[in-house]
């Protein structure tokens, strides 16, 4: 009886102290192991301080998270923090009143913020054209080249650095009984990051950063068309396998040990360790030696966190505190090791290095190294509205290219035409 009473008192005391905390919410689009890591990080944040209590909520996929965030904002029920993926960045950044720029939020809360602390490849993607951080980079990835070590040994060739080298060694890989190349999500690999790795302009208006009005996508240039003519040529010669728009369908042949190279995400590293039973390694995604100035860093993939507007100062202070917590080297290294996403600050990268993590797992370093390669005029990022729909148009045309229904040049002209219609439509909504 006595015990119960004490317990009740103790409970009510804890309840009061919990009540005094400021509650903030975080909607995200991660599942599986990555979703668990989000819960772990939130718990670490809650344990590290008393003033704020953060609750993470999974909202399905990236697209579903964005859609439900938008719907919630329209009815005044938005969370404090919303995770938005790379292709949705333009949508949320163009809606200026919907978010508080991460940089302002952190400075207003009296915390420190240093743009230079972030690794070069991360700085611009979620920032405005002046470099101010609108979104807080969170889970960042890069498209890299995974390869089956056994396949290269059998074929007696070296992993390619450039696409020219790939053309030279591909027949040997085929001879050794492998499908030389597969790649997931060609929109990300062979268009967006074809642009960044080869330092090519992707859209007018400074890749879309300067203005929403009049931004046009640029994909009919000879280099972009050449990339896909080559892919088609390789597919016809059975040097490249195309398995539609699904991520997993293109990964499967690599996991089964049938394909020698798979272009995938640096974030796929953890999953691949479990799903493969052969030795694999990774290197930078190839570029074209023939294109002048190529070999630059890639765009950052993944997603960022946005602080939604319309919240009290106390809640915003908590959000700011959480953003600072996220960028601390300890949290970044923990996240990096558990998910395969790259660390986003130089300090976190140094810490992982010092701990000897990359001696154990050299593949984990490839993504961040690629993001730290020399930048070029067009490697900061791109900003195009309705971009998820433009990706859908590309996916449709790519299927048609590889089934031989349409010529590469014509396909890209369709993409440019429909893409520009979507961009013009977006400019109207934002206007």
């Amino acid at each position: 009886m006595m015990k119960t009473a004490t317990a009740t008192i103790a409970l009510s005391l804890t309840a009061t102290s919990v009540m005094a905390q400021t509650e903030i919410s975080w909607w995200h689009g991660m599942g599986g192991r990555n979703g668990e890591v989000i819960n772990e990080i939130s718990q670490q944040f809650n344990d590290a301080q008393d003033a704020c209590n953060l609750t993470p909520v999974s909202r399905g996929t990236y697209e579903e998270a964005l859609a439900s965030g938008i719907a919630a904002f329209r009815s005044g029920e938005q969370p404090n923090i919303l995770q938005v993926f790379d292709a949705g960045a333009a949508t949320i950044i163009a809606a200026e009143g919907a978010t508080i720029p991460a940089e302002d939020l952190i400075l207003n809360a009296g915390e420190e913020f240093d743009r230079e602390a972030f690794i070069a490849g991360v700085r611009n993607f979620y920032a405005d054209s002046d470099g101010k951080f609108i979104g807080m980079p969170f889970n960042s990835s890069a498209p890299i080249m995974y390869y089956n070590e056994e396949a290269f040994e059998k074929a007696g060739v070296e992993p390619p650095k450039t696409w020219e080298e790939f053309e030279e060694i591909a027949p040997a890989l085929k001879e050794a009984g492998y499908l030389p190349l597969t790649a997931s999500q060609l929109t990300w690999m062979m268009v967006e990051n074809f642009k960044s790795r080869n330092n090519q302009q992707f859209a007018t208006n400074n890749n879309g950063y300067d203005s929403v009005d009049g931004t046009e996508i640029l994909v009919t240039d000879e280099n972009q068309v050449m990339m896909f003519e080559k892919l088609k040529e390789w597919a016809d010669a059975e040097l490249f396998g195309f398995y539609g728009a699904g991520w997993g369908d293109n990964l499967k042949p690599f996991e089964d040990g049938q394909s020698a190279i798979w272009i995938g995400s640096s974030g796929s590293f953890g999953g691949l360790q479990q799903s493969t039973d052969f030795d694999f390694s990774a290197d930078f995604m190839p570029y074209w030696d023939a294109i002048e100035g190529a070999g630059t860093q890639s765009f950052i993939g993944g997603a960022a966190l946005f602080a939604m507007s319309g919240k009290s100062d106390e809640e915003n202070a908590c959000t700011a505190q959480f953003f600072s917590f996220l960028t601390s080297p300890e949290t970044q290294v923990y996240y990096h090791k558990n998910t395969g996403y790259v660390p986003i600050t130089e300090a976190a990268y140094e810490m992982a290095k010092e701990e000897g993590y990359y001696d154990e797992q050299p593949v984990a370093e490839v993504g961040i190294q690629q993001l730290m390669l020399e930048g070029g005029e067009w490697t900061g990022g791109y900003r195009m509205g309705f971009y998820p729909q433009i990706r859908t148009v590309m996916e449709r045309e790519f299927n048609r290219i590889f089934s031989g229904e349409v010529e590469v040049q014509d396909a890209f002209e369709t993409i440019e035409e429909e893409g520009n219609q979507l961009l013009a439509r977006f400019a109207k909504t934002a206007g």
Partner: protein
């Protein structure tokens, strides 16, 4: 088992007569009319149903119509009135038109196949004497599978890497590439959608067959030797009300309820795979955040469905004989 058929057919009859009354605005026979003491009482009973219809159907419909005339940013900061521009954009888009064409084709073929096979199975099952319940239960059980699950099961068969149907097609010299080849994917969604719908039609046709009086059947037996002629001249006309009801239901099914099957088959990324108009509304609205354009498309869809329903009742129902 017989109980189930009975309830099924009663429910079907009720729906039919309600639809008929609604369309032809027949006034019920005064002698059969139930009288309430106070004029407000019937409304009180109707209120919950009316509230549900108003909140979940009329209100969103009005919203869809309103936002179809605007272009607005996703977060709702500003909406610009654009008149019929969203409609013009949708109808002028070649992509929209090819999706519409596919939808019409898809509806026709799914309805025809699932009605045809459902009827065939019902007629055959009706004749089975020994072990009839086992056959019937096996045929009906698929109805308990939810559409997304049906999609998943289907994709295990059609998977481009390890599906057994891929091997079967390869045996006949066809490289089945569901998810890459437009028509291969179409075959997959049609097959899964038909498979999912057959049990529903089967149940109703079977109960329809049960309601054909034995005396009529026996009389027919004297008149015609050929089983096919008896079926064509006697059974089929008596099944017409059921068939008409199922036609309406099946068209609605293939237009709307097949959404989860498409979602599973195209794996959230339609690329060049065939999709229906409903799926396109979802893509543009929820994935593309284009609220105005997506609303215009859903209003077009509403008009099409309304027109289709009216046409069915005007032209087809006249030829249906209710026993």
């Amino acid at each position: 088992m017989a109980e189930t058929y009975h309830t099924g057919s009663a429910r079907q009859g009720a729906i039919l007569s309600r639809l008929r009354a609604w369309y032809s605005a027949e006034t019920a026979d005064p002698a059969k009319r139930v009288q309430f003491d106070r004029p407000l009482t019937p409304w009180l009973f109707l209120l919950p149903q009316l509230a549900i219809v108003a909140i979940f159907f009329y209100w969103p419909s009005v919203q869809a119509v309103t936002s179809s005339f605007y272009i607005e940013d996703p977060f709702g900061f500003g909406a610009t009135f654009v008149g019929g521009e969203n409609y013009a954009d949708a109808l002028a888009s070649s992509q929209y038109l090819s999706t519409a064409t596919f939808t019409a084709f898809f509806c026709a073929i799914v309805t025809a196949l699932s009605l045809g096979i459902g009827l065939l199975l019902a007629v055959k099952a009706d004749k089975v004497i020994r072990g009839a319940p086992a056959y019937k239960t096996l045929l009906i059980s698929v109805y308990a599978i939810a559409p997304p699950v049906a999609g998943l099961i289907g994709m295990m068969f059609f998977d481009m890497h390890m599906g057994p149907l891929k091997d079967l097609a390869a045996f006949f010299g066809h490289d089945l590439r569901v998810g890459i080849d437009y028509w291969d994917t179409a075959v997959a969604v049609v097959t899964i959608s038909v498979w999912k719908q057959i049990p529903y039609n089967f149940i109703f046709f079977l109960s329809g067959l049960h309601s054909v009086p034995t005396s009529v059947r026996e009389a027919a037996l004297i008149d015609a030797q050929s089983g096919w002629r008896r079926f064509r001249d006697v059974t089929l006309p008596l099944l017409a009300p059921t068939a008409f009801f199922l036609l309406v239901i099946n068209i609605t099914y293939s237009l709307f309820d097949t959404f989860p099957i498409f979602d599973v088959v195209v794996k959230d990324k339609p690329a060049n795979n065939p999709i229906t108009l409903v799926y396109k509304v979802y893509l543009d609205g929820f994935k593309g955040n284009d609220i105005g354009g997506s609303s215009a498309q859903s209003v077009i869809l509403m008009i099409v469905v309304a027109a289709l329903t009216i046409m069915q009742f005007r032209f087809l129902e006249r030829r249906v004989h209710y026993g």
